[in-house]
């Protein structure tokens, strides 16, 4: 077995260094040399396995790894290319002074299923059935309408902040459809489609953004920073990439409790520059946990284009460096996204391994309501992506070609949705704001004395000078 693993390395060595390597003959009498035991993943360390999981490795694998060593027979020579014994990496030696080039000769290709006109270019994809496909399209439209109404409402001053996912609706819904509803999702902020898919009602979106007492965040978190324990959608935190290690921790928890579920995290290509991304993905690979790292590479991080964000082969190109399976997908191709996420999820859950997906797309909208992207990019570029490369339109062409959608109902659908969203917004505004006590509750599991006193002071201040405070805060 030792020689089988070593000769595999020899083959790999030939591929990497491009020349046939002379095999060294070891003298007879070499008794033992520690070679990585076979239960190690790629020979570079023990596999960590929780107690109770069916596996050949025990949870005592660390000591097993230390104890085991392969003894080479002392009789006869062993034809083997010399493998270096460094604990850091099982690698072949070379006498060529050669640098690995900074860019790979071939970048990770981009998987797609549909042409821009919605024609199937391959049969190699998971096809959603008719009802799912119809739901997918309707939800994409709903997301578009939601974004449009809410964005305008913010401009009118009806709430403080909003960020659309314009141009990424197909990505949102296709991802959500490919996951199970109880997979733990750790979003960045441009993935409300996942919530929508799982049943978060339009009224709930409105309540949260308005910040009334019925919003699940109790008016504490910004708009679009949704969270729903019930729908396994973990509350958005504004700081980029903090959710990525959270997702790894959740995956660790899922694996420990042997739940056949996946942890999923979304982030942009800009957030992937954060330290948290690197620490988390590295750790997920070491831990071997069921997690999907889904990067929405939409080309812009506020005003920073991707060309200034990284020099390597995007985010998918990093996967192999961390020992993580990765794929690059056309994020505006809903079927490609659906298929890839579905396949990745299966890999993750069945093999307890992380998978990295880079969904290439374009941020058609501004970063948020605090941004005017025409200041740093060409309007022509925005228009091109919006009019010619829209993922929702592409998907619609496909389902129309399948005979599952009638384009003439589109206008009415949008009108109805628009009316509904506007009504939800108005209803949300009419509801009471969270009570003053919600300023202090949930800081801890129970209200401590210090906060009780601080609440008293606030109440006194409001009672002494009611005209200085908003009238719609219930005391």
């Amino acid at each position: 077995m030792a020689s089988a693993s070593v000769s595999a390395a020899a083959v790999a060595g030939r591929k990497i260094f491009g020349s046939l390597r002379p095999l060294r003959r070891f003298p007879a009498g070499l008794v033992s040399r520690r070679i990585w035991p076979t239960d190690c993943v790629d020979g570079v360390g023990p596999r960590l396995v929780p107690d109770g999981l069916a596996s050949s490795s025990s949870s005592r694998c660390f000591s097993a790894w230390r104890a085991s060593s392969v003894t080479l027979k002392s009789d006869g020579d062993l034809d083997v290319a010399e493998v270096s014994p460094f604990p850091g990496a099982r690698i072949m030696y070379t006498e060529d002074l050669q640098f690995v080039t900074e860019t790979s000769p071939s970048t990770v290709p981009c998987f797609r299923v549909l042409s821009e006109n919605g024609e199937e270019l391959t049969k190699n994809f998971s096809e959603p059935d008719m009802s799912m496909a119809q739901k997918m399209y309707e939800q994409m439209v709903a997301l578009q309408v939601l974004d449009s109404v809410f964005y305008n409402a913010q401009r009118q001053g009806r709430f403080g902040f909003y960020a659309t996912c314009t141009g990424e609706e197909a990505l949102n819904i296709a991802c959500a459809a490919a996951l199970r509803d109880n997979d733990s999702v750790f979003p960045q902020y441009r993935e409300p489609g996942v919530l929508l898919w799982r049943g978060y009602r339009l009224q709930e979106f409105a309540d949260h953004c308005i910040g009334n007492y019925q919003g699940h965040g109790k008016g504490r978190q910004m708009s679009i920073h949704y969270g729903s324990n019930k729908l396994h959608y973990f509350t958005v935190s504004s700081v980029l990439a903090t959710q990525i290690p959270h997702a790894v921790g959740a995956a660790y928890s899922l694996k420990m409790e042997n739940k056949q579920r996946c942890s999923v995290t979304f982030f942009g290509e800009g957030a992937a520059s954060e330290g948290d991304f690197h620490g988390a993905i590295n750790f997920a690979a070491v831990l071997e946990v069921p997690i999907l790292f889904i990067c929405r590479n939409n080309g812009w991080a506020i005003s920073t284009p991707a060309s200034q964000q990284y020099r390597g082969d995007g985010i998918a190109g990093r996967g192999q460096a961390y020992g993580v399976k990765s794929i690059r997908v056309d994020g505006n191709d809903a079927l490609a996204v659906f298929s890839a996420v579905k396949a990745a999820r299966q890999l993750a859950v069945e093999n307890n391994q992380p998978v990295l997906l880079e969904l290439m797309t374009y941020r058609v909208g501004h970063h948020s309501t605090s941004d005017d992207s025409a200041k740093y990019r060409e309007v022509a570029e925005i228009r091109y992506w919006s009019e010619r490369r829209d993922g929702v339109a592409r998907f619609r062409k496909w389902i129309e070609s399948k005979g599952w959608w009638d384009g003439t109902v589109d206008e009415q659908l949008r009108k109805d949705l628009r009316t509904e969203v506007i009504a939800c917004l108005a209803a949300a505004e009419a509801k009471e704001k969270p009570p003053l006590s919600d300023l202090f509750s949930d800081v801890y599991d129970s209200l401590p004395k210090s906060l009780e006193e601080q609440e008293k002071l606030v109440r006194q201040a409001v009672q002494n000078c009611p005209q200085m405070y908003p009238a719609d805060i219930p005391l």
Binding site: G227, S238, P245, A250, F283, D442, D445
Partner: protein
Amino acid sequence: MALSQGIMAVSVPAAALLSASSSYSAARVQTASSSLPALGSRRGLAVRASSAEQSANFGPSSQKLWTPKITTNAVAAKQEAAASTGAKGPGHELLLYEALREGLEEEMERDPHVCVMGEDVGHYGGSYKVTKGFAEKFGDWRLLDTPIAENSFTGMAVGAAMTGLRPVIEGMNMGFLLLAYNQISNNCGMLHYTSGGQFTIPCVIRGPGGVGRQLGAEHSQRLESYFQSVPGLQMVACSTPYNAKGLMKAAIRSNNPVILFEHVLLYNLKETIPDEDYVCCLEEAEMVRPGKDITILTYSRMRHYVLQAAKTLVNKGYDPEIIDIRSLKPFDMFTIGNSVKKTHKVLIVEECMRTGGIGASLRAAIMENFFDYLDAPIGCLSSQDVPTPYSGPLEELTVVQPHQIITAVENLLAK
């Protein structure tokens, strides 16, 4: 991070830290009386007895120390009732790091959701051996060795906590947790609130901090001052094996994120602790020595320096009341307040920097609440606002010494 690997080999005998008697608080404390039993009869920290010290009798006397069931209030005397019978069992003697380990082990046995994450916590047993033997017992999965990415593994623990586990995060040195500040402040402390109470984060963040022996500036951080502002966090500091075990257990059982501050030089402190299961109250201060002349508030390693100084003070005829505040966030204003109302003079002794330290905010809190009871400005002895130097004598100059405590008390009482 690699530097500190060699540091755990430094083991400081308890005797070097505290020259003579110190004691931990008991469930009941005898009312103030001039005669207290001799050293030998007390359950206290291992001490070198000397005839001179026999006269310096102070501290909690024989008392009803432990009840057979779990003691949720192991702190003295809201009532300061008289003590009654002696302890139920003989107790067992161990070092502070062993007490932490015992507490952690008991909680891990009790609740399978408790897990530990940190660098070298697995088969290495932790840099200070707090998790020694755990990986063999609980497996590699529950004793997770993390790569060197504090922010990331703290984030992982937050995610695991939100999904139902109860992680204990070990920072190899508290100073390294500055790298995890983002996750601790923006997520640990906040997510329960911003999610509208939907997600809880019952994690414990622990590790050694404080000034050690020539560990250099980066390994001598006092992070309690940095974290005290973060809403949503609770902070406690242990100082004896008894409260170390009790606070560890309480922190793990708490549904809030708790930071447990240990001190790098206290790990080898020896004490006899109860055999029975007990938990300390996270929010309560510990009455170490009741008195009437002055209230000395302290925590962590400085407690032992204060006790050392108290020996001399008592010899000189003073009667200091010493409180180990233990709960750094929130402050136990009840115990502290009762003391201030009795003594009217306060001295805070801490290892934090002068500016923005625990002492600074404690002073403000006392002044705000008990101004009318004070007969003098609140004194505060802290370290200077300098990075801790490596050179031994220089380092010693940055840490409050017992003679400074004595002088400060005398000055305050002269007012």
